[in-house]
Amino acid sequence: MTAITFETVPTGRIGPSQALRNGMTLAWRNIIQLKHSPEKLMDVTLMPIVFLLMFLYVFGGVVAGSTHAYLQQLLPGLVAQMGMFASMGLGTSLCEDIRKGVFDRFRSLPIARSAPLIGAVVGDTVRFCVTMVMLVAFGSLLGFRFHTSPLSVLAAFGLAYAFYLAVCWVSALVGLIAPTPETVQGLAFIWTMPLTFGSSVLLANTQTMPGWLQAWVKVNPVTHLADSVRALTIGGPIGNHAWYTLAWAAGIVLVSFPIAVWMYGRKV
C-alpha cells in the first residue's frame, strides 16, 4: 500500500459569506434569464392593472360608496396581494430548473447547498419591483395619491418586500415538493387564495362573515401587512400590525428555509 500522494484540498466547510456570494451569482443568472426572455415578467406586469380595474370598478361602489374613496384603501391592500402573487412564479421556475440538467451541475460544484435557492429568491426581487412599479404607476393614473412622508412610503414597501422574501421560501418549498411545474401552479393558487382574499386586502365587511372566517382574517399575516401598508401610505394608526407582519415573516423564514434547503439537498 503506497502512501496517498494526492494533493490536499481545502476542507469542505462552506461559510455563510460564500453561500451569499454563490447565491448572488445565481441571482445574477436569474436576472439575466429575465433579460433574455422578458415575457416571463408579463404576469407581474399585467396583474396589477387587471386587479386594480376589476376590484375598483366592481366593488368600489358597494364597499366604499365611491370608486375614488375605495382606490385609496384598495391600492395599499393590493400591495400585499400582488406581492403574494408575484412570489408564486418562483416555485414554478424552481421546479422547472430542477428537472433540467443544469441543477445537477450546481449540485456537483463546490458551492453552498443553499446557493441555488438563495439565488432564485433574490433574483425574483425583479418580479416584486416590476409588479409594485406597475401597481403604483397605474394606480396614480386612476387617481391614487400617497398621503404620508416619503420615508414612511419607503417603509411600507420595505415591509412588503420583507414579507415577499419570506413567502418566496414557501413558494420555493412548494416548487421542491411538487412533481411538475403545472402542479406548482395549481397548489400556489390554493394556498394564496385564502391568504389574500381572506384578509383585509379588499376591505371586506367582516361583520357578515362566519366566526371562523372572522378569526382567520384577524390572524392572517396578509391582513397585518395590508393594514400596515395602508397606515404607512395613506395615514392612520398602524398599531402593532407592522410588528406582527415582521414576526410572521421571520417565523415563515425560520420554518420554510431549513426545510427547503433540506428538501433540495435530497432531491435526486
Binding site: R29, R105, L109, P110
Partner: protein
Amino acid sequence: MEHVIRAEGLKKRFGETQALAGVDILARSGTVLGVLGPNGAGKTTAVRMLATLIKPDEGHAEVCGYDVVKDAAQVRRLISLTGQYASVDEELTGVENLVMIARLVGHSRAESKRRAHELLDRFELSDAAGRAAKTYSGGMRRRLDLAAGLVNDPQVIYLDEPTTGLDPRARNAVWDTVRGLVTEGATVLLTTQHLDEAEALADQIVVFDRGRVVADGTAEELKEKIGGQTLAVRAMDRARTPEVAEVVARVTGRRPEVHEDTGLVTAPLDDPATLTVVVRGLDEAGVVASELTLRRPSLDEVFLSLTGHHAEEPEGQEK
C-alpha cells in the same frame, strides 16, 4: 498503482429497482475508464454516486482519497460532471454560462471572463458566444457542456454518455477532446452504450449489466472473451438462403444463425482470412450475395455472450 477512483460494493435501490447491486470500480490516474452497458444497467447511478449527487445505500467510494459521502465538498472541488443531457442553462448565452460557473467556483469577474473566452475558443464556440444556448445545435451544446465542466480545472472528469444523440462529426470532436484531457493529466470516467466508443477511448473497460459488473479488462481482453468477428451474408435471391447457410457452416465450422425475415446469415469468424474462402464457396455454388460483411461483434452480441441475454432488455428506468 495509484487509483484516483476507488469504489467498493456500491449498492443503490430506487423503490422496486435495484439500480446497483454491488459494484467495484477502479480507475488509475491519467487514464480513461469506460463504463459500458445498456440502458438501465446502472451506469448513470454509479456516476451520480461518484459525483456526490446521490448516496450509496451500501458500499463506499473514494475520489483522490476523499470519501464521496463524508468529504463530499472536497470531492466536488476535484471533479466535473457532464450529464447525459447537456447540463447548460438554455436561457443563458455561451459566455454567460461559463462566466456563471467560473464565478461560482470563486474566480474574479475579470478572470471568469478570461476563462470563459479561452474555453469558448478552445471548443470553437467563439462565434456563438453571445447566443443563447437554446439556439445551439446538439453538438455545440455538448461542447459547451464539456467546456463548462472544465472551468474549475477538474482532476477527475465524469462524462455520462457524452456522445449520445450526436452525429459522427460531432462525436469525433468529443472523442478528440477526451483524448486531449487525458494528455493533460486528467482522469476520465466515461459511460457509453457503444463498444466502439469504449474501444476508441478507454484504457480499461467495465461492463455493467443489471447493476452488476459482468466483465472488465482492456478492449482487447474483452473481445477475446467474446471471440473474433462476425460474418454476415445475404443472398440476392432469398430462396437460396439455405445454400448460403450451408457454405457458411462449412467454412466456419459452426452452425450459422439464419434470420428468417431478413435472409441474413451470421456466424462468428475467428480468422478474417477465411473470408475469401466464403466468397469462393458462394461463387462455386453460383449464389450472388447482396451483402457480405465482416464486422466486430455488436454490443448486443457482446452482451449475449457475456450475460446470456440481449442488451435491449432494460430493467426499469435509470435515474
